[in-house]
Structures are given as C-alpha cells and as structure tokens.
C-alpha cells in the first residue's frame, strides 16, 4: 500500500497517470475509494498525474486525536505535495474536501493553480442555506430512526453530535444501525468519532467570507442539480473572480457517486481547458 509521510503523519495514497498534477480530496467520513468507484482516477489519469489520498483520520491514513480544521488539512495537502516533489497542482475536492481545497488555494496561492469545488459547504456561509432542504439527510435520519437512533433535525449537520449518538449504541443497536443506513465503514466512523473531527469540520478556522472571496485562481464550482447547497453555489458564482458554475443532473450532495459520468466529464473538461490555457485571471 503506497504511503507517504507528511506533517508527521502517514498518509495512504493512490497515484496514476502522467502530466500536470491533480490532487483529489474526499470529504469527511469518506475515503479515496470514491475516486475509484466513480472512475475519476482512471479518466483524469489519462491526461494528468492524478493523486488521491486518504485524509487524516480516514481510510488507511493515520488518525491523530486533533487537527481536523480546513486550515490544518490544507497544511496536509501542501505537506503531501512537498513530500511528493509537487510544486504546483490543481485540486479537486468534494464536500469538506472542497473546503480544504479552497483553504489551500487561499493560504498557498502560488502552489494551487486551479480548484474544482464539488458541493462544498463552508462554515462561514452556513447562514445562506436552508438546511431543512437536504433530502438526503432526511432519508438518512428516517433510516436511523428505524434502527433506534434519533438524530436531531436541528443539528443534522453537527457531526460531533452524530458521532456522540452512534458511539453510545450497544452492539445489537450498532448492527441494526449499520444495516439500516448502509454504513460499511462503521468501525472507521467510530474511530473518527473519538477525534476532534466533528467540531473541527464545522469551524470557520480562518476561512472567512473575505478569505473565500480573495481566491483568484480558476474555480469550477460544481453542485448536484438537487444539492442542499445551491445558495453557496450562487454565492461562489457571484463573488469569486474566476468561477465557472456547473450542475450535475440528477445528483443531490454526492455527485461523484450519484452521477459519476456527468461529474467526471465536466471536471475533466475544466481541468483540460485550464491546464491548456496560458491565461490566468480570465473567466473562461
């Protein structure tokens, strides 16, 4: 299993292809397999040296007790690039991976050439969204309720509270919960629940509206057609200097899984256009 040491942690990664560097960053509770299940690695690997890694606390990477803010993990991205000898890269981040990518672009503008933000939800922009619209969450909550786990409607996005509830289930309840909500990686979820990830992922951690709006690199803001975060999509389109908006048909929050062909095709086109362009700072 390929591993690389960065920020005093060991990260599991996968790499394929040759060409300009692209890094793929998954979301909280996910892992790099999403990029294989969706063929993202395979298709981007035809034109780019494509690297996916498991975030700290996830998959086969180390699980430190703390350090899970977008600022901390933007630091991981840059440290991994350093360890791999990658000077500049384009980042593709899904959900919280998009928040990490945005933070990396803001903190290290000379290292990040372009961004694909797939359905990110920024703590600093949470006031924009009507959180009750997330049908995916409502379905999940109903399934969990049938398994005896009551998840708060008010705090649905509160991972710390979610982890806390799941960790207090007994063995039989855990089995029912896992079967009901289809969470195969439950042991890893419980492991993550013992860290500060839940709270850290909700903190602004310096990625304020002002900092978000300071990003000038080319951005593809790609959201599911039925994403719960379309107000964020509109905000990015209006406020970033160099942003292209896109919708993935039929998808909700998880476009790489819900319409992988539509997602990968659009991302690939953006990266090809961006890497071919010698112009920067121009809306494409």
């Amino acid at each position: 299993m390929p591993r690389i040491r960065a920020n005093d942690l060991s990260f599991h990664y996968q790499q394929t292809g040759d060409g300009p560097d692209v890094l793929l960053i998954h979301g909280v509770t996910g892992d790099l397999s999403v990029w294989l299940l969706s063929r993202t690695m395979e298709i981007l690997g035809r034109s780019f040296r494509t690297t996916a890694y498991d975030l700290r606390g996830h998959g086969y990477s180390d699980v430190p007790p703390s350090g899970y803010t977008s600022a901390d993990q933007a630091g991981d991205t840059i440290a991994i690039m350093d360890a791999m000898g990658i000077d500049r890269a384009m980042l593709v981040g899904h959900s919280f991976g998009g928040v990490i990518a945005m933070h990396a672009a803001a903190l290290y503008p000379d290292r990040i050439e372009a961004l694909v933000l797939s359905d990110p939800s920024f703590a600093a922009l949470r006031h924009l969204e009507d959180l009750g619209r997330w049908g995916h969450w409502e379905d999940f909550r109903d399934e969990a309720a049938e398994a005896g786990v009551a998840l708060s409607a008010e705090y649905w996005y509160d991972l710390a509270k979610f982890f806390d509830q799941v960790m207090h289930l007994d063995g039989e309840q855990l089995l029912r919960f896992r079967q009901a909500v289809g969470l195969p990686g439950l042991n890893r979820l419980l492991r993550l629940g013992k860290t500060t990830c839940g709270d850290d992922a909700q903190s602004v951690a310096g990625l304020t509206e002002e900092v978000i709006c300071s990003v000038t690199q080319p951005v593809l803001a790609i959201f599911g057609e039925f994403s719960p975060f379309l107000a964020t999509a509109d905000y990015l389109d209006r406020n970033l200097r160099n942003c292209v908006g896109a919708r993935v048909s039929g998808a909700k929050h998880r476009a790489p899984e819900e319409n992988s062909e539509g997602f990968v095709d659009r991302v690939n086109r953006f990266l090809l256009e961006t890497s071919a362009s010698t112009l920067t700072g121009v809306r494409s």
């Binding site: 299993m1 599991h12 996968q14 892992d31 790099l32 397999s33 999403v34 294989l36 299940l37 969706s38 063929r39 690695m41 395979e42 498991d54 998959g59 086969y60 079967q179 289809g182 195969p184 990686g185 439950l186 042991n187 890893r188 899984e257 992988s260």
Partner: protein, 94 residues
C-alpha cells in the same frame, strides 16, 4: 504451461490475503456467498487495498478499475466473494 488455479484454489488465496493483509478474521468461514461489505464489515477502501494485495500476490496487473466502477454503480455497493473469484478466474486466464 501455466496452470490456471481453479475456483476453490482462488477462494483459498483470497481468504488468505484477506486474513494476512487486511486482518480479516470472520466468525464464519468465508465462502463464495460471503458479502464483502455486509458480512465481513469491510468498506470500499478495503477493496482498494485488497486489489493491490491480490495483484501483488498473483504477480500481475488486473483490471480492478472496472470492478470498482461496477461496484460503484450498484445500489448496495456490495460484492460477493464469488464474484471476486469469477473476476480473478476470468482475468488470470489472459
């Protein structure tokens, strides 16, 4: 002449790799009906690591990209060990 392992032999190899590389110690013996995710409690990231281990074990590159994409299209995102055996039988012939 290269000998192609039969299904039973491949199942033994897969069980051995699961035990030694992923630390899987199921309460029931693994057979072809055992489901990767629902029965063994594994996740798709384990399938990524297992695919690397199997390629190392058999000494060749196998089209796991296709198998992963196929799992990605499934509603339950699960895989019976028998399907993995079939995949290996088919691709080890080439």
């Amino acid at each position: 002449m290269t000998t192609i392992p039969d299904r039973a032999a491949i199942l033994r190899e897969v069980s051995s790799v699961l035990a030694h590389e992923l630390g899987v110690s199921p309460t029931m013996p693994i057979d072809e009906r055992t489901r990767f995710f629902a029965d063994l409690g594994l996740a798709s990231i384990d399938a990524v690591v297992l695919s690397e281990a199997l390629q190392r074990h058999f000494g060749r590159t196998l089209p796991f990209h296709d198998l992963m994409a196929e799992i990605g299209r499934r509603t339950d995102r699960d895989l019976a060990i028998g399907e993995l055996v079939s995949f290996l039988v088919e691709n080890l012939k080439l």
